[in-house]
């Protein structure tokens, strides 16, 4: 479904990704694990078009999308729930979700999406008219995922959904991610520092170090891999 081949990405003159190649098949949950600054977020930002690759190919459903503008890529069915949640704090919860459905012009379809997101995250319905800034960290994360789900994506990119959130809510959010894959059939590429939880949820995993993929395997195999255990699951 999504294929990255030999992708190079730069911040100014600093090379952040070195010939990165990953693959996500339809219906999978794939996780990208690695330490801080390894290039996980850069990978997601490049897929969703916030950054452009200087070399390599990115194809989504057989179509080249590398270097296309972010707003075009969303339209093709890739939604990105960014690192640090990045919800619109001045907008209400409902307005945030409306923004997620920005490209859905059909009102009844948007309404349907809203119902679906409210079913996934009932808390958001309770808080619909509150401004985004008043939500707790966990609720903001739900809003960020819910907002991404509003566009009915085929592929959902999740960046650190567990970051800075109470452990009990992390459990809940991971259950909901599983539910999204099961019930909506959405393919998911998950970036996590909490490698243990990510690998338990995912089908396959990649290990990224200083902008290069150093390891890839079934999630279960990675969980048992002594090197991975030592570096990321310690």
């Amino acid at each position: 479904m999504l294929v990255l081949e030999g992708v190079d990405v730069y911040y100014g003159n600093i090379k952040a990704l070195h010939g990165l190649s990953i693959k996500v098949d339809e219906g999978e949950i794939v996780t990208l694990i690695g330490s801080n600054g390894a290039g996980k977020t850069t990978t997601l930002r490049t897929i969703s078009g916030l950054m452009s690759p200087r070399a390599g190919r990115i194809t989504f459903q057989g179509r080249e999308i590398g270097g296309e503008r972010a707003e075009r890529i969303v339209a093709q069915g890739i939604a990105h729930s960014p690192e640090g949640r990045r919800i619109f704090t001045d907008l209400t919860v409902r307005e945030n979700l409306d923004m997620g459905a920005y490209l859905i012009h059909d009102k009844s379809a948007a309404k349907e999406r809203l119902e679906r997101v409210y079913t996934l995250f009932p808390r958001l319905k309770e808080r619909a008219s509150q401004s985004g800034g008043t939500l707790s960290g966990g609720e903001q994360q739900m809003l960020a995922i819910g907002r991404a789900m509003m566009s009915r994506p085929k592929l959902l990119l999740l960046d650190e959904p567990s970051l800075g959130i109470a452990p009990i809510l992390v459990q809940e959010i991971f259950r909901e991610i599983e539910q999204i894959r099961r019930e909506d059939g959405t393919t998911i590429l998950l970036v996590e520092q909490n490698a243990h939880m990510a690998l338990k949820l995912a089908d396959r995993g990649y290990v990224i170090e200083t902008g290069r993929i150093v390891h890839e395997d079934e999630a279960g195999a990675l969980l048992d891999d002594p090197k991975v255990r030592e570096a990321y699951l310690g």
Partner: protein
């Protein structure tokens, strides 16, 4: 007396508010102090001036005051549209290329664009101020009888010694003249069958209109920004451009639209300005533009209600403070210092409360 000054202040404040709205909207979305915004206002004022001067809706023969209202209606739309399109063009040509080059480069570009537009205006329209023409009311000569109630004029074309053709108003009937058959015949002999009287707009009624216009525009803008899809996109983009792009929002389009709306409203302010003060000149935008920025800062930059409140506060302060200084403290020259007072006000607000009355604390993006 005090009430007159208050009205003056509110009228002026409404004009500031019209300009400040665009400042605040643009700053909200791309964090640029759009120096050239005052020039959009100036261009709007010029377009309004030309419309009011040349439309000649009076000649259609509608009953008063319809022609005057129609004149203003057309002038407002034309001024706003031209100002809006100019803003979109400016954004596309000058601001978009420097958006990534840092805020200082962007601000300096804006200063350059501002001067550029001023000087183009000087070249195209001349440096001298032009006076706003009084609206005219036409009468067929046959309709006038008895003692003339006003001065009546007609336009005559003549050729100057340089060979230019100039149109000039000729006074044909003075107030109090008796309009008998001989008088009428002598006018007809000169080739006129209709004459007009000049209506001077009272400044006070204009001020009421300007304030009413602001009151009328406020809910429209509120609706636009709070309720429409584009307005929500604007707010989203002004808070977090990257996140907005991830929603599928085309930032360039949103920014262009913000410039358009901001300058459109400034165009309304431009027409309000000539209606109130009666003249246009190329440097017209500089001071009101700066002061409107002051108003936007007072209200809290990025906030639409803030721009309106800030504009009104500044307008009233500019009218009332020198008045008080003069009447109460006996400082005779207080009015000559009103611009300095406005700037001092700016510095104090920036230093003491840079977020303004309704602004949110600025989050520095890292």
């Amino acid at each position: 007396m005090f009430f007159d000054y208050l009205m003056n202040g509110l009228g002026l404040g409404a004009i500031f508010a019209f300009i400040a709205l665009g400042y605040t909207m643009v700053y909200g979305i791309i964090k640029l102090i759009n120096f050239a915004h005052g020039e959009f206002f100036m261009v709007g004022a010029y377009v309004g001036y030309f419309c009011l001067r040349d439309l000649d809706i009076e000649r259609v023969g509608l009953p008063q005051p319809l022609p005057i209202l129609l004149d203003f209606f057309v002038a407002l739309w034309a001024a706003s549209l031209v100002a809006g399109l100019l803003a979109v063009l400016t954004e596309r040509v000058a601001y978009r290329p420097v958006r990534k080059a840092g805020r200082i480069a962007a601000l300096l570009t804006a200063v350059g664009v501002s001067l550029l537009l001023q000087n183009i205006a000087v070249q195209v329209w001349g440096a001298n101020p032009r006076s706003f023409p009084d609206p005219r009311v036409f009468h067929a000569l046959d309709d006038l009888e008895g003692e003339a109630q006003a001065n009546y004029y007609a336009d005559r074309e003549f050729t100057t010694t340089q060979g230019e053709t100039v149109t000039e108003a000729v006074l044909l009937i003075s107030q109090g003249d008796v309009l008998d058959a001989t008088k009428r015949a002598s006018i007809e002999d000169q080739g006129f069958d209709e004459v007009y009287e000049r209506v001077t707009l009272s400044p006070k009624s204009v001020q009421y209109f300007v304030i009413l216009a602001l009151i009328g525009w406020t809910p429209i803008l509120w609706f636009l920004v709070k309720r429409t899809r584009m307005g929500k996109a604007m707010r989203a983009a002004s808070e977090d451009a990257d996140a907005a792009r991830l929603m599928g929002i085309n930032i360039n389009l949103v920014v262009a639209l913000t410039f358009f709306v901001g300058a459109f409203v400034a165009g309304v302010g431009g027409v309000a300005y000539i209606a109130t003060y009666g003249k246009v000149e190329p440097m017209l935008g500089f001071l009101p533009g700066l002061k409107a920025f002051v108003a936007a800062v007072i209200g809290g930059i990025g906030s639409i209600p803030g721009a309106i409140i800030g504009g009104l506060i500044l307008g009233v302060a500019e009218a009332i403070i020198p008045f008080v200084l003069q009447e109460v403290f006996g400082w005779e020259e207080a009015f000559a210092w009103k611009d300095a007072i406005a700037f001092a006000f700016l510095i104090v607000v920036l230093v003491v409360k840079p977020t303004g009355l309704l602004g949110k604390p600025m989050r520095e993006k890292v």
